[in-house]
Symmetry: C2
Subunit: 357 residues, 2 copies
Amino acid sequence: MIIQKSTNPRISTFDPDNFSFGNTFIDHMVICEYENGKWGDVKVMPYGGLPFSPAMMGVNYGQACFEGMKAYKDPNGDVFLFRPEKNFERINKSAKRLAMPEVTEEMFLDGLKALVDIDRAWIPQGEGMSLYIRPLIFATEEALKARISNKYMFAIVATPAKSYYTEPVSVLISDFYSRSANGGVGSAKAAGNYAASFYPTQLAIEQGYEQIIWTDDATHEYFEESGTMNVFVRINDTIYTPPTSEKILDGVTRDSFIQLAKKRGIEVKVEPIPVKTVIEAQKNGTLKEVWGVGTAVVTSVFQALGYKGEKLMLPSLPAEESFALALQKDLVNIQTNHAEDPFGWRVLVEKKIMETA
Amino acid sequence: MIIQKSTNPRISTFDPDNFSFGNTFIDHMVICEYENGKWGDVKVMPYGGLPFSPAMMGVNYGQACFEGMKAYKDPNGDVFLFRPEKNFERINKSAKRLAMPEVTEEMFLDGLKALVDIDRAWIPQGEGMSLYIRPLIFATEEALKARISNKYMFAIVATPAKSYYTEPVSVLISDFYSRSANGGVGSAKAAGNYAASFYPTQLAIEQGYEQIIWTDDATHEYFEESGTMNVFVRINDTIYTPPTSEKILDGVTRDSFIQLAKKRGIEVKVEPIPVKTVIEAQKNGTLKEVWGVGTAVVTSVFQALGYKGEKLMLPSLPAEESFALALQKDLVNIQTNHAEDPFGWRVLVEKKIMETA
């Protein structure tokens, strides 16, 4: 690994109480380039622009996939990653589906740790604060031919993140637009999946909703995901989430919620969720909660479901009765070293670079 | 329009008899940047790299779409575009579906003409030769948040293209993988659609096929497209092509073939094509031809269809009996100014920049 420290760090200008999530970048990034059938050296270098032409295949043919993950700083200042090996596995699944080369553990896990270590001062401390980390792979060959690229870049960039708390949102159950096809790339964190969702989401916003609950494209009779999150439904005291498939992302937060729910003795059913069942449960009062889970906000609780012109309200449970909030708390406590970690999910980021620099 | 001519042109090194299609770039490119809700100046400038960070939204969330078109040089050295207004309309349809800003006629059509004009020396002359032109729009804002970008680049880059002649290919009718979902982005020239097709195509190649005939994702019972082309089937003397929809690209070559076929008095049916019908026609000898059409190769004739483990051979028609080849010839003759243009499809690129420079 090559480490090239910034000679002009911006950390002194960073105000953890006043920053913009998503476009405040930490001082460094990781890059690694693929050419002639192999990856080159992993480099930690100052964050910034690199020369790419508009003929870059990544923006022409969309060979690009990413991961989203976080680093947390506990009250002692120790820094932890959360299940990073899951993201490492998944980026390689995405890469495979998009005919891109897989990355190595050294590139992904060691690169991640080195970046978080060198820029640990950028990780804000306190409830809900974290560093949001974006590993990605994209095609960099300059060529106007719809074929697999011969050159790629793996990169890791990161931005400080604020409290994940969000107000309950209203979501529209889709009966026309879809995010994934049978035999498509829905389960990959493919760049193109996100662009495809923006216009339908914009239409939903114009109708007074914040997000879309995606349904299967053939019949629109089954839940798939919600916005960019996996979806959970609670009917009485049982929680349901759709099984993963080539259409549904294998979310790390989803998997953690399932394990945490089982640990609490909550019944979890991983099975297809018919829209009809959810609507009926809302009508007969057995629908208790519907929520989305993902790395960025952990949990997004829904207050209403839009379906065929109707806005169906969900009960507003007291916090202590909410499974969504209980599981969120369990998860965050493990992530931030405020609770035991019986699953071995937390990974300490050791201080290496700062000391030797 | 701002014109910044290359001070270091590479045209003297270009050998029209020996170049690599797709990664030989002409001396200039067009760029135009979108920020604060509006497009800036259109610039013709030397082709090359521009600084983009790996946090660029185009490679993270896939807001990126393109067009493919060609310029042809006739024996007198006059240069023509083919139905450029169709590409202009379509890039804006793609942009809309991906929640990107539409481009203006000045950016697209005037930019195109200025680029082709300034680099007309790069257009190889002779049968099947052309300049392949790639207008594209992609998100350029640096932000790690899955939302609509606030910044974009429109660009036009181009590469000289060789003879479109290709050997007949074998194609595999897909019964698992899909390129588009109901309510998805299949009809947009979205970057992500191409990446999604590479892995299934690779698997088809490993089975001895060159391309995939994409079928509907829900049942795999109907033809959609072939590779990156629209598909045509001839049974007896009637030709069929599926209707366009949100799943099927509204191809310029497809539309031109339909009009040219009608002009020749060939019966054309724009209707869903059941796989079953094609297989039955192959078995009973009424299936005469199956071919793909697109800007890059005009026509790709198929010699065999793979379906459920069987390789079904297509008849090898003499050239004079082939509708595919007749229509291809009609089209190329119009494109290259070797025939009358009753449709008004050809657009002369006037000499402006060279003379005034």
